[in-house]
């Protein structure tokens, strides 16, 4: 649904749930997920509804993902880095992760 306006920035390789996706330097994790066509990044803790990044500016907390083993990071506030391992989240976060 989304497409990049221009292929700016150097290629950056990150994984999402173990699968390699192509991101660009300067992308946030949320932007990279959207550009890769990933339609949701988590399911909610109580009802299990699927959610995707929404405000892209740190306000709505819809974009929570696990980044390099740390759960519930706001994907729209974290810039991608080569080798980064992103995991989508299912329901409640596990304490200690």
């Amino acid at each position: 649904m989304f497409k990049r306006l221009a292929e700016t920035g150097a290629a950056v390789a990150i994984t999402v749930d173990g699968r390699q996706i192509a991101a660009r330097a300067g992308d946030t994790v949320a932007a990279a997920l959207i550009a890769a066509g990933i339609d949701h990044c988590r399911t909610t803790p109580v009802s299990g509804a699927p959610r995707a990044p929404y405000c892209l500016m740190g306000v709505c907390f819809e974009c929570l993902v696990t980044v390099d083993g740390v759960g519930s990071r706001q994907g729209c506030l974290v810039p991608v880095r080569d080798g980064m391992a992103v995991e989508t989240q299912t329901g409640k976060r596990e304490a200690g992760r």
């Binding site: 803790p45 109580v46 740390v70 519930s72 329901g91 409640k92 976060r93 596990e94 304490a95």
Partner: protein, 374 residues
């Protein structure tokens, strides 16, 4: 008696008022609840939601028995509310802990329990002191500093905001008239009925039950009663929702039915409900991480402060007026824990028109006179 609009006017729509109103409606009374507006200070919206037994009653052993009575009635109370409203308040009674982070803390805890148990006439609490390995079997995620704790099988918790909402739903379904933004200014008794003056007009009722929290202090003397209060502030820290890891509530930390962890138990003399002392939240959080290190990198999503309804000695006040028969006070800290008693035991007494002294005599505010003159 004049043909009043209502049999009973309950002043205050917090947990104590609505639990009492529900109980009164079940007894067939025509009930009105007069409450303030949305900006009112309400302990019922900011509490920690424990239905808690251990530690209660040091200095007044009857308070332990009274608390256990409510704890035992809570399961049935929650079930009845569910049948009437379809709402589940998530009451659980898995037993709860006090945890100690040093030998000294554990010793102090054991001492308190011993003093509590040594009081004449105390009911058996079934609280036991456990060492680290016993605690770890029930709470596998405790940190290395936890040396032990005390466990009471009667301790439990609920979803407190849902309880508040459920009680409001239940009184509505039972035909109770709830009047928000009706702050009671004065109460008088004329021609055998009570007249409650509000800016919205006068309400008349055959009886009046004062359940206005700390504001009972101002209202009670209008009907020949007294409620000496000493409000106090508490702060709570709330985390994001986590997978269940904590099977038992700890007095300062519990995991709700929906996964959030609530951390709190602070006491401050400030009575500014809008203020928050960051250092207090930080101390609460630091101790929580020492108890359960897996909380270290969990996100905090909310903090708040709320004002406790607190009588001057911390014990409940239940009274009926000698000069104004038909006027009652119901005032306490631990209004979550005692909600079942207020609904199922105190409300029927008010409906009958007299408190059952065999149950509530120790909680009369007359006890404050003994101290003042003695």
């Amino acid at each position: 008696m004049a043909a009043s609009d209502f049999d009973v006017a309950v002043v205050g729509g917090g947990l104590v008022g609505v639990a009492t109103a529900w109980g009164l409606a079940r007894e067939g009374c025509r009930v009105v609840v007069l409450d303030e507006g949305d900006r009112a200070v309400r302990a019922s919206r900011g509490n920690f939601a424990l239905v808690w037994v251990q530690s209660k009653g040091l200095g007044l052993p009857e308070y332990a028995g009274w608390t256990i009575r409510s704890s035992n009635a809570w399961g049935g109370f929650a079930q009845t509310l569910k049948e009437e409203t379809g709402l589940d308040v998530a009451f659980q009674r898995p037993g709860g802990f006090h945890l100690a982070l040093s030998g000294k803390e554990l010793e102090a805890r054991a001492n308190i329990l011993k003093r509590l148990h040594n009081q004449p006439g105390i009911v058996d609490y079934k609280t036991e002191i456990m060492d680290r390995s016993q605690v770890a079997k029930m709470l596998p995620d405790i940190g290395p500093e936890v040396v032990g704790g005390s466990f009471c099988p009667l301790d439990g918790h609920v979803n407190s905001l849902r309880l508040f909402r459920t009680l409001h739903t239940a009184i509505k379904a039972r035909g109770v008239t709830y009047l928000p933004s009706h702050r009671v200014e004065t109460i008088t008794k004329e021609g055998g009925e009570f007249r409650l003056a509000t800016a919205q007009g006068e309400i008349r009722a055959g009886k009046v039950a004062l359940a206005a929290g700390n504001a009972n202090m101002r209202l009670a003397p209008m009907v020949g009663l007294e409620a000496p209060m000493k409000p106090e502030r508490g702060q709570i820290v709330v985390t994001e929702r986590l997978r269940p890891f904590l099977n038992h509530p700890v007095v300062t930390l519990r995991q709700t039915d929906e996964g959030t962890v609530m951390i709190g138990d602070s006491k401050e003399e400030s009575i500014d409900p809008a203020g928050l002392t960051l250092g207090v939240s930080a101390t609460e959080a630091e101790r929580a991480v020492r108890l359960f290190p897996l909380l270290a990198n969990v996100n905090v999503v909310r903090t708040w402060s709320a004002i406790r309804v607190m009588t001057q000695d911390g014990f409940p006040i239940y009274d009926e007026s000698e000069t104004h028969p038909g006027a009652f006070t119901i005032c306490c800290h631990s209004g979550v824990t005692l909600a079942a008693n207020h609904a199922l035991t105190v409300a029927p007494m008010i409906a009958r028109g007299a408190l059952d002294t065999s149950l509530v005599a120790p909680f009369s505010a007359r006890r404050f006179h003994v101290q003042a003159t003695g």
